[in-house]
Amino acid sequence: MSEVKFTIDGREITAPAGEKLLWVALKHDIYIPHLCGIQEEQRPGAGCRLCFVEVEGQAHPVTSCTLPVREGMAVKTRTPAVDRLVRSAFELLLSDHRLQCGKCPKNRACALQQIARERGLKLKLNRLKPLQREFPPVDDSTAVFACDRSRCVLCGQCVWADQQVAKVGAIGFSRRGLNRTVSTFTGMELADSPCTKCGLCVEACPVGALYFLDDNWKNLQGGQTPKGKI
């Protein structure tokens, strides 16, 4: 594949033509906020709306997970328009996320915290009120890991891990609008579903919606995967 040269924030970068900008930037240690991006996915879902960048010559910010790199393009990861969209998308996600970082198993390892840190955003609501809505009870039926939908950001990483990596198909997206959720077929408990407890979905979760219940969690934080032990 042919290589192309272009710039991100003025830095000259070479990458294979057609590769999506988000992954090229991350590879070069240029941070762009993202939750739903999956590098292997043929057609990115582009649902989280956090990875906006500005390309010289284009009037509006575009999502970098869907942007193929081109020869000579000049990309900026921080502009007033980009920052405004990221700030709004982030605050919108927080408004529907149970914000009790101290009690969250993902505290300090959470993608939302990383975005806040990198972009100087606050982990609290500024303009918006929290959406008061009911979530199904925490599903800890597997005794290995738990699913708390009040922390879910609907990024779909767990669904990809379950369906495309583990090839199990225990979970998927269901319902629509504000009720969109990750669920098992008919919403049964995970223990009753085809779930094999492989833990790939838990590892994939960037926030604290899926978390291990026993010591395996600590192993994960130590950088080990708990897969073999379950």
């Binding site: 879902g45 582009a46 649902g47 709306r49 969209l85 998308a89 996600l93 504000l178």
Partner: protein, 637 residues
């Protein structure tokens, strides 16, 4: 005499057969009844049965024929009587009594009952035609021309009116020539976005992949829009012919009509149309004797609004969740099953046979240079003559509302026009002289959209209207992307608070910021356009928002939390009890002096007492803010 090609010869035979079959129709009286969904809802089926019954009773030899919709919703159910020796006459608001009179007076005797006739269908010396009314002057029916005048369930009616002639001509042309003609006509997609159809077709025709699809988007979901349904129910073959021509132009051998299941009658009539087209060799293998093969089938959509969006429509056809995808790739490169796909709206396809028949130049003679042709609008709301109208692009909103729609009923004042469906914008009086086309509407903050036009008068609260439309898009959001899923919800919450008098001025700033961000940041066009009603009302009716927040006052007296009902003692009569009986919660009571009053604690603001109060008293009035009540009560004590 020039030599006829095979296709032309095959077509002429079909047409002659159709004409021969229909010729005897002119021998005896013919009664047409508009039985599209709109007519049926108004009682057309009962009218049809009444005619049949009465004809039998009186022993009159006449035919009853079902047709589609003429677009005059205000006069449904409609019937047309064509009796040899008389001009064909159209009667509106037909009921069983009128049926009896028409059969007896007109069909048995020769009195056409002009006092009940609405309009004559052909020029004559006695009775006015559509062209003699203001609406007829401004209207220019191109794709609606045959709607309501032919039997949609009999292909021969379409064939006899030159139907499928364009297809016969196209089959003798080279396919690039067909695309060239559509491109030259600058036919812009009538689904709302206005993308040039010819450019789309060319992109599909130029793909290396040889399997291609043609899909007609009939997932018409906007509240108040019914033009696609009406066309499919009234003249399905026009759309089918347009699709076959498109398939020939782009080299597709299979196509679909994506019709929402909420349109059962449209599905039924299209299915009949496809069946009859197949029987006549107009669909299937070797169309009209040529070597071109194409077939069409119906895909019934399950009724999600978002599935009208192209990528979501494709996903739902493939059995996946009906969620939109990021574009590119465009459908023209990777559409249904990853193959190049033309997706056009019902109306776009309907123009195609006419452009082929009459030429690109003819098409461009109507409308504006940037948006040639006509636009079909569903006029609704506070307008005297609601209905389906087709006017040239470039007609002003003022002409559309005051000449075609005959203005605002009653002595009410025009306030705004909401154009483009729930994703459209609300334009004020000052915008009435904008010539309507794709570009000018966008500039004003509205969109052409589906063509829904809702007219609002002084009794409509703009905050509530914005909330109403946003509520629709919020509920129809698929939930895939952050901005649309959560942004529209927060906007809705803010609007709800304002209509309850719980808003703050700073909320308006948040509302505007959110609206702009949802517009800029959403994944698909549902989210990108959802804020339009909010942004346009904030721009043009800011004072109304302010009044709700600062004065807790609803200027249109519409928001229940900001109004109070009050019975003016000086107008009320001891002799009348109408309001007391109308109240569902016993809030209205009789005072010691016999006059009526309202217990505000019980009142649920249902408006019944105001409607019940007889015209001669008009004693029930609405007050906003409710605090005015104390003042009133003090002053009358």
């Amino acid at each position: 005499m020039s030599m006829l090609s095979t296709t032309e010869k095959t077509y002429q035979e079909l047409r002659q057969k159709a004409e021969a079959k229909l010729a005897p129709l002119a021998d005896k009286p013919l009664i047409w009844i508009g039985t599209a969904t709109c007519g049926k809802a108004a009682g057309a089926l009962e009218v049809r049965e009444a005619f049949k019954e009465e004809l039998k009773n009186k022993g009159v030899d006449a035919r009853v024929m079902e047709v589609g919709c003429m677009g005059h919703c205000y006069a449904e159910p409609l019937a047309v009587i064509a009796k040899p020796g008389f001009p064909a006459l159209c009667y509106g608001k037909v009921d069983e009594g009128l049926v009896k009179r028409l059969v007896d007076d007109f069909l048995v005797h020769d009195d056409p009952c002009y006092e009940f006739a609405m309009v004559a269908l052909e020029a004559n010396d006695i009775f006015p035609t559509f062209a003699d009314f203001p609406r007829g002057v401004y209207e220019e029916k191109i794709i609606l021309e045959q709607c309501g005048f032919i039997d949609p369930e009999d292909i021969d009616h379409y064939l006899a009116k030159d139907g499928y002639a364009a297809l016969a001509r196209v089959l003798d042309m080279e396919s690039p020539q067909v695309i060239k003609e559509v491109k030259a006509a600058n036919l812009r997609g009538r689904g709302g976005a206005g993308f040039p159809a010819g450019v789309k077709w060319e992109a599909v025709a130029g793909q290396a992949e040889q399997t291609r699809y043609v899909i007609c988007n009939a997932d018409e979901g906007d509240p108040g829009a019914f033009m696609d349904r009406s066309i499919l129910e009234s003249n399905p073959h026009l759309v089918v012919e347009g699709m076959i021509i498109c398939a020939y132009a782009v080299g597709a051998s299979h196509g679909y009509l994506y019709i929402r299941s909420e349109y059962p009658q449209a599905i039924r009539r299209v299915r009949t149309a496809l069946q009859q087209a197949r029987e006549r060799g107009l669909l299937g293998n070797s169309i009209l004797g040529s070597d071109f093969n194409f077939d069409l089938e119906i895909f019934a959509g399950a009724g999600a609004f978002v599935c009208g969006e192209g990528t979501a429509l494709i996903n739902s056809m493939e059995g996946k969740l009906g969620l939109p995808e990021h574009r590119p790739p465009r459908l023209s490169t990777a559409g249904l099953r990853g193959k190049p796909t033309v997706l056009n709206n019902v109306k776009t396809f309907a123009y195609v046979p006419l452009i082929i028949k009459k030429g690109a130049e003819w098409f461009k003679n109507t409308g504006t240079p940037g948006s040639p042709g006509t636009a079909v609008f569903a006029l609704a709301g506070k307008v005297a003559n609601p209905g389906l109208v087709e006017v040239p692009m470039g007609t002003t909103l003022r002409q559309l509302i005051y000449d075609v729609g005959q203005g605002i009923p009653g002595d009410k004042k025009f306030k705004a026009v909401q154009i483009g469906g729930p994703s459209g914008g609300c334009l004020p009086e000052a915008a009435l002289d904008i010539p309507i086309d794709f570009d000018s509407l966008k500039e004003a903050g509205a969109i052409m959209g589906s063509g829904g036009v809702v007219i609002l008068d002084e009794d409509d609260c703009m905050v509530r209207i914005a909330r109403y439309f946003l509520k629709f898009t919020q509920q129809e959001s698929c939930g895939k992307c952050t901005f649309c899923r959560l942004g529209t919800r927060h906007m809705l919450d803010i609007l709800t608070a304002i209509t309850r008098g719980e808003g703050k001025l700073s909320d308006l700033e948040t509302l505007r910021e959110l609206a702009e961000d949802v517009q800029a940041g959403s994944l698909c066009n549902l989210g990108k356009t959802a804020p339009n009603p909010v942004l346009t009302t904030l721009k043009y009716f800011y004072d109304e928002y302010r009044a709700h927040i600062k004065e807790k006052r609803c200027p249109a007296l519409m928001c229940p939390d900001l109004i109070a009902y009050y019975i003016a003692p000086e107008k009320c009569s001891k002799l009348c009890n109408a309001c007391v009986g109308s109240c569902p919660v016993e809030a209205v009571y009789t005072r010691e002096d016999g006059l009526k009053a309202i217990n505000q604690g019980k009142c649920v603001k249902c408006d019944n007492c105001l409607k019940a109060c007889p015209f001669e008293y008009n004693a029930v009035i609405k007050l906003s803010p409710p605090s005015l009540l104390e003042e009133k009560e003090r002053s009358t004590k």
